[in-house]
Symmetry: C2
Subunit: 390 residues, 2 copies
């Protein structure tokens, strides 16, 4: 598809809608083809499209020079963490339960993980008193928290943060002079849009008093989630806000070492942030597929959490967003004893038994750092994610 | 192209040769589509194909479990280096001039670069006395060399190592108990095939006495070089030989953090290591394009280095392989003085002047760590690389 003349072939017009051919033709004028290296931060026209997408979403200017594209949001996160960690005296505050990318990367970089517990009783809320407890305890141990990681919507906990909670986190970061790392990769996966739509941290920050507008912030997004789910293509970006030019130069240098993000993924990123528009030939198909996948994810999220709460000894917060439910399962004494006898943690034991008995795969909650008591262990259930083309 | 039924459409048969459609159909049975995550080490059928390719090339068994695919050879190298470096007391021996990936990654990981000079007078040969000098000096400074990096064919120096030289490097590694990191990404770019064909370090090692067969080795390859040149797709692999199971498990864990290499690049890797065969519909076109690109690269390598040697004050070893020439340019006193006056290094100054006067881009040699005297500075010339589909 990289030969512009091929796009004029009548055969192609029979396979692809006209707006797809138009876009491919236009894009081919903007770069030499997927086989060539791109700019290390990503193709300029893709970064422009990402900036326009953010601007439309937040109604706040976004600069393509503040966008760095990577082979997925994971390396974007890992590279950002690298900027904050020089040794074990540097701490990164991460939510517990958390997505293991964070704990593994902090360990790899030689920093200190400062875990703050999400409040399960309040729908996995981020409590400021808990953030302050962790901050103070870290400092007392000689560790300086450099960044606060917030995952919204939550992975693996599925909550969508309230605006008040987001503001409190922003105030905390400003007061403590820590960078806010906003993992916003599930921004399209919000199942309570009417009452609590997704709002980016950047937008919320700009809705606050002027003194907060200068907060240093990293926001991550990806083609792997949402209704698109093109995770195998590995493309993600970070938007940096209020970051020093010197730091930006170091980020650029880090990107340059590995040459560039993969180009196919970049093109999919461009499709995600600039989808078919009303009046274009593929618009109705796009809307149909988008809504079907979204509705299906929402339906399954609700069905799963409702069902879990009907089970004896099981409670589960509603999955307001993302792709996961994180139920708490209270095991009877005899199950805990049986696990002990088998030399396994109770939640590991339960997960294996469940798999053997039913074929259902769950991930033991202790892997996410969740608190357990002998009689309580939380487990993660993955709602099956759906790909764009099924 | 991920809908198997689409491949049966008569239109598709008009665009693609039959063997391409057959392969796509076969491959679609082996994985769920490019949009899904693959195994963290890479799709099993791609790793199988890589192992068969290595086995055909070397006539020595290769195990798909010893193949790790990454988003290019660069992250493969960076991940390997990570295994050897725990602090500045760990050294990595790298050739000078060298490809900056190595120096940058060693610095990033907090290790110590132990640079050994290639012998420009002997066509950029790797001298064992020089390896021993660097090893001993490193140890004397409290640094233990953990790995020896050899780039063959050389980047940016273009030499193809002799078998004797490779054997000497293997003996050195065995004696000093250092891991051999063989950067073999230019294995298809050998322009003196008749007199000195590419031989992998693995093959050479197995041609030696049995005592050398257990040497720990990492060998890197990529879709970015050769006649393919699909660098934007970011796909590379490492084959590990004689590596401890515990280390393998750590490598797998490192790969898992970033989920998987991009799938499009993996499919291109499969095409590279298992090209069209005699009798297949696209075979003659494949051979034609392959040979045209190879011949063109070879022609340009010879033309460029021959021409450089006709210039006053310029000498250049022949580019036996890879895609670069690395001439030495002896600047007259007045040019050095003019550079000094402009506040620039002589080679930086020359590169800018050349660009302004002729439009020819060269990279100053000091960036590759090459030795300079006030009257000597080596510069790198890139032969323009050519992509598979022009």
């Amino acid at each position: 598809m990289e030969n512009p003349d091929l796009l004029k072939e009548p055969l192609i017009a029979k396979i692809y809608p006209a707006d797809v051919i138009r876009r491919a033709t236009e894009n081919l004028k903007k770069f030499p083809g997927t086989g060539a290296y791109s700019h290390s931060k990503g193709l300029p026209f893709v970064r422009n499209a990402v900036a326009r997408f953010i601007q439309r979403r937040d109604n706040i200017p976004a600069d393509p020079e503040d966008i760095f594209i990577y082979n997925g949001a994971s390396p974007a996160v890992q590279n950002a963490l690298r900027l904050f960690v020089t040794g074990e005296h540097d701490g990164i505050m991460i939510p517990i339960p958390q997505y293991p990318l964070y704990s593994a990367s902090i360990k790899l970089l030689g920093g200190t993980q400062c875990g703050y517990f999400l409040n399960e009783e309040r729908d996995w809320a981020t409590d400021i008193t808990e953030l302050e407890r962790v901050y103070d305890e870290s400092v007392a141990k000689g560790v300086t928290p450099r960044a606060l990681v917030v995952i919204n919507p939550g992975n693996p906990t599925g909550q969508v943060m309230s605006e008040d909670s987001m503001k409190a986190a922003i105030r905390f970061c400003k007061e403590k002079k820590v960078v806010l790392m906003a993992d916003e990769v599930y921004q399209e996966n919000v199942y309570i849009r009417d009452e609590r739509p997704f709002r980016s941290f950047k937008k919320v920050m700009h809705s606050m008093e002027k003194e907060y507008h200068g907060l240093e912030m990293f926001s991550f997004h990806s083609i792997s989630k949402g209704f698109l789910g093109e995770c195998g293509h590995r493309s993600g970006y970070v938007e940096i806000t209020n970051i020093d030019e010197e730091v930006k130069a170091q980020m650029y240098k880090l990107s340059s070492i590995l040459l560039c993000p993969n180009t196919s993924g970049q093109l999919l990123m461009e499709c995600m942030v600039d989808p078919p528009k009303e009046g274009e030939e593929s618009y109705s198909l796009y809307i149909k597929e988008r809504d079907e996948i979204y509705d299906s994810l929402k339906r399954r999220a609700q069905k799963l959490t409702t069902f879990l709460n009907t089970l004896e000894g099981v409670t589960c917060n509603s999955a307001e967003g993302a792709m996961y439910a994180f139920p708490q399962i209270r095991l009877p004494d005899r199950a805990v004893a049986a696990a002990k006898k088998a030399g396994k943690k109770p939640d590991d034991f339960y997960a294996i038994q469940l798999l053997d008995a039913t074929g259902v795969v769950v991930v033991p909650g202790s892997g996410f750092g969740q608190r357990t008591t002998p009689f309580t262990s939380a487990r993660r259930f993955c709602l099956p994610s759906t790909r764009f083309r099924g």
